[in-house]
């Protein structure tokens, strides 16, 4: 085989690499401080190309419908959706933020919000709010405060979620145990879980599943015991209330009401539940999407969380934020405002996977699974508490994952674990 090198293409190649070297070397930090400019609703002839970063493939269809409606008003604004799985989403977002290449508009969650807002990576919605394009009063207060920092509002939620107990009635029937009423206590929950596990021991089915992550399990019980997770920049784990909230899950596992902690690591609680081998599962309202089309869908009902000293549940919601260095801020804010609006949120609710955050648009979500009493998740807003976050939430979330299992498995006393966690968490919080 004879190959003839063309001198020109060789030289272009070398030059190309040279350019690469230079640009790599000059990737300096341009300062793009977030300043809230005056916002006016753009004219319908505005032309722009936007990117929209999200993490949930199952919601893309509903998003696309909303974008079509948006384009009917603004035909000149092209929006490209970019989906990154949740497991990689924030790793990617952090890289994009470091190189000032964030998508124009993107999804944000509570634990990560302060990191981005505090470092000037996102644009406040002060302008659109003053112009009347977005009104924070239309959304649950616990959630709008989640997306404000030092008195500045950066976004409003596109959806919301609360926690409830998903119940598989078929399991209760097999066990011959009655499904508890809505007004139930911790003791009732524990005894019901143990009774179901005992009755169905031979088939390897359990009554409930132990605590695995904060949002769906132990944050709720700590709140219900009257405790807090983080307050004024210090950890609240070393309090009797927090110990009681963590102890709830240790007791559940010790009583046999739940599979052991190791079993739950191999096969997660949601997998136990969806395969019909779990009676009660503490899960978010978003879990509805995972049940659609399964064998157990018709046997499902939902109960509010059993009552401790107080009644509580964690509330959280995803927000759409505009990047501070977006080239098309006006168009991006227009899209942000549209997606926050009643019409767009109504469409989300009809798609059924999430609860829209706009007050008054939620009824369609409850109708998406008529037998299951999804109304529980909406009623919970009254006594809901925001997901605990700080400026670098991930740092102490890692500590929770590292240390709390010793309490759940019973290998160390709860009080020792929470004391240790509190001191390590305080050290992490002090670094923020």
């Amino acid at each position: 085989m004879t190959t003839q090198f063309s001198r020109r293409s060789m030289l272009t190649g070398v030059l190309g690499l040279g350019v690469l070297v230079t640009t790599a070397a000059c990737g300096g930090d341009e300062d793009s401080a977030a300043s809230s400019e005056k916002y006016t609703e753009p004219g319908t002839d505005l032309k722009a190309k936007l990117t929209y970063g999200v993490w949930d493939q199952t919601q893309v269809e509903a998003i696309q419908k909303n974008l079509d409606a948006f384009n009917a008003k603004y035909p000149g604004i092209e929006v490209a959706i970019s989906v990154t799985p949740f497991a990689q989403y924030f790793t990617k977002l952090q890289t994009q933020a470091s190189s000032d290449t964030l998508p124009d508009l993107f999804w944000m969650n509570g634990p990560n919000f302060q990191l981005y807002a505090g470092n000037g990576k996102v644009d406040p919605i002060t302008g659109p709010v003053e112009a009347g394009a977005i009104d924070p009063k239309n959304y649950p207060e616990a959630l709008t405060t989640l997306y404000s920092l030092e008195g500045v509002q950066y976004g409003v939620p596109k959806d919301m979620d609360t926690i409830g107990v998903w119940v598989n009635r078929a399991v209760f029937e097999r066990a011959g145990v009655e499904v508890p009423g809505e007004d139930w206590t911790w003791d009732e929950f524990q005894s019901t879980a143990a009774a179901v596990s005992k009755a169905l021991k031979s088939e390897g089915t359990y009554g409930a599943a132990g605590g695995m992550d904060g949002q769906t399990t132990y944050y709720n019980t700590v709140f219900e015991a009257g405790g807090e997770i983080v307050k004024d920049g210090t950890s609240q784990y070393n309090t009797p209330q927090a110990q009681e909230g963590i102890g709830f899950w240790a007791d559940l596992i010790a009583s046999g009401g739940s599979p052991t902690y190791q079993q739950l690591l191999d096969t997660t609680a949601d997998q136990w539940f969806v395969s019909g081998k779990l009676g009660m599962y503490w899960g978010g309202s978003w879990f509805r999407g995972a049940l659609a089309g399964t064998d157990i869908e018709d046997d499902i009902t939902v109960l509010p969380l059993p009552r401790g000293t107080a009644q509580a549940t964690v509330i959280h919601g995803v927000s759409n934020l505009v990047a501070a260095n977006s080239q098309n801020k006006q168009a991006a804010h227009a899209l942000q405002a549209y997606l926050a609006g009643q019409e767009a949120q109504q469409a989300y609710g009809e798609a059924g996977s999430v609860i829209p955050a706009f007050t008054g648009t939620q009824a369609t979500f409850t109708k998406s699974m008529p037998k299951a009493n999804l109304q529980v998740f909406l009623d919970a807003v009254d006594y809901a508490k925001p997901l605990p976050v700080s400026a670098n939430t991930a740092a102490w979330n890692t500590l929770e994952t590292k240390l709390l299992p010793d309490a759940f498995t019973g290998s160390k006393p709860v009080a020792d674990v929470t004391a240790d966690l509190a001191s390590q968490m305080d050290a992490a919080l002090a670094k923020e």
Binding site: V21, A24, N119, Q262, Q263, D266
Partner: protein
């Protein structure tokens, strides 16, 4: 004429040199610098001297990670003896379907590590997995492989071993092809048994391939991340990962989860030094046991 002699060689190696400088040398220099700083989450660094190294060497996690990495590498190195046996069996003259076997052994190597890990996660499942089901036939109550500290890293190593045999078989297979058949004929005339032939002819003449494989395996062993992450790390809140983590996992955790970029850079430098040392030692030792005609 002379001037052009000086110019052309440089031009021809320029693309590679540029590539290596941009993608290898510059990152190493940059990482070395970052390891001496404390970085903001989105860039912006302050010089802190050797602080990152001091806190790293005081942290028990580092030594546990090095231990796990070494254990993993040691277990995966077992793929070489296994591959020698498999490759020489496949080299038997007149073996039918040799290419089919070659494909079967090579498939795990080309499969995506994440896909491989997902399947093994199910195989290792303590309640519903195949491994414990089979152990049950013999009355053995298998552990929760991937959620028991101690067992988890071994389980991951077994997967690594399994998926690296194929590559070694291919490399050793081509090494075997270069051994002249006359040697075996002569040995046979001298009355050497098949086993004797294997140890006196096959193994010594394969040593160049074995040396190559051992270096490559050690380097990739030190870079263990994807299997570990996919088998243990992706179920939220699996604390087993902390007792089983490798050096590169520790790097990932520091760099992308807890946002300690400077510390992560320091870990990367430790990995660089360890890999360089291990490779140097292997090159030195090679002179003693590798036969090159």
């Amino acid at each position: 004429m002379k001037r052009r002699d000086g110019f052309w060689p440089w031009l021809f190696i320029a693309p590679l040199t540029a590539g290596v400088s941009v993608f290898y040398l510059w990152p190493i220099v940059k990482t070395a610098w970052l390891s001496l700083t404390e970085s903001g989450v989105f860039g912006g660094t302050t010089f802190t001297g050797l602080d990152n190294y001091t806190s790293l060497f005081q942290d028990g996690d580092l030594y546990r990670s090095i231990g796990n990495t070494l254990l993993y590498t040691a277990i995966v190195l077992l793929n070489i003896p296994i591959a020698i046996v498999v490759a020489s069996l496949m080299n038997t003259p007149g073996l039918r379907g040799a290419s089919v076997y070659r494909v079967l052994y090579f498939l795990p190597y080309v499969a995506m590590p994440t896909a491989v890990a997902m399947v093994w996660r199910i195989i290792f499942n303590g309640d519903f997995g195949v491994v414990n089901y089979v152990l049950g036939w013999f009355g053995i109550d298998g552990p929760y492989w991937i959620s028991t500290p101690g067992f988890a890293i071994v389980a991951v190593s077994v997967v690594g071993l399994w998926s690296s045999v194929g590559f070694s078989v291919i490399v050793l297979g081509s090494g075997l092809k270069q051994i002249p058949p006359e040697l075996y004929e002569a040995a046979e005339l001298d009355g050497a048994s098949r086993v004797r032939q294997f140890f006196s002819i096959t193994v010594p003449l394969l040593t160049p391939s074995i040396a190559f494989l051992s270096i490559v395996t050690v380097i990739s062993g030190f870079q263990l991340f994807d299997l570990l992450y996919a088998v243990l790390g992706n179920s939220y809140s699996n604390p087993t990962i902390y007792s089983s983590m490798s050096l590169v996992y520790m790097f990932y955790e520091a760099g992308f989860v807890t946002n300690e970029k400077g510390l992560a850079a320091a870990i990367a430098m430790v990995v660089l030094v360890l890999v360089a040392l291990a490779t140097l030692v292997q090159f030195r030792l090679q002179k003693r046991w590798v036969h090159i005609d």
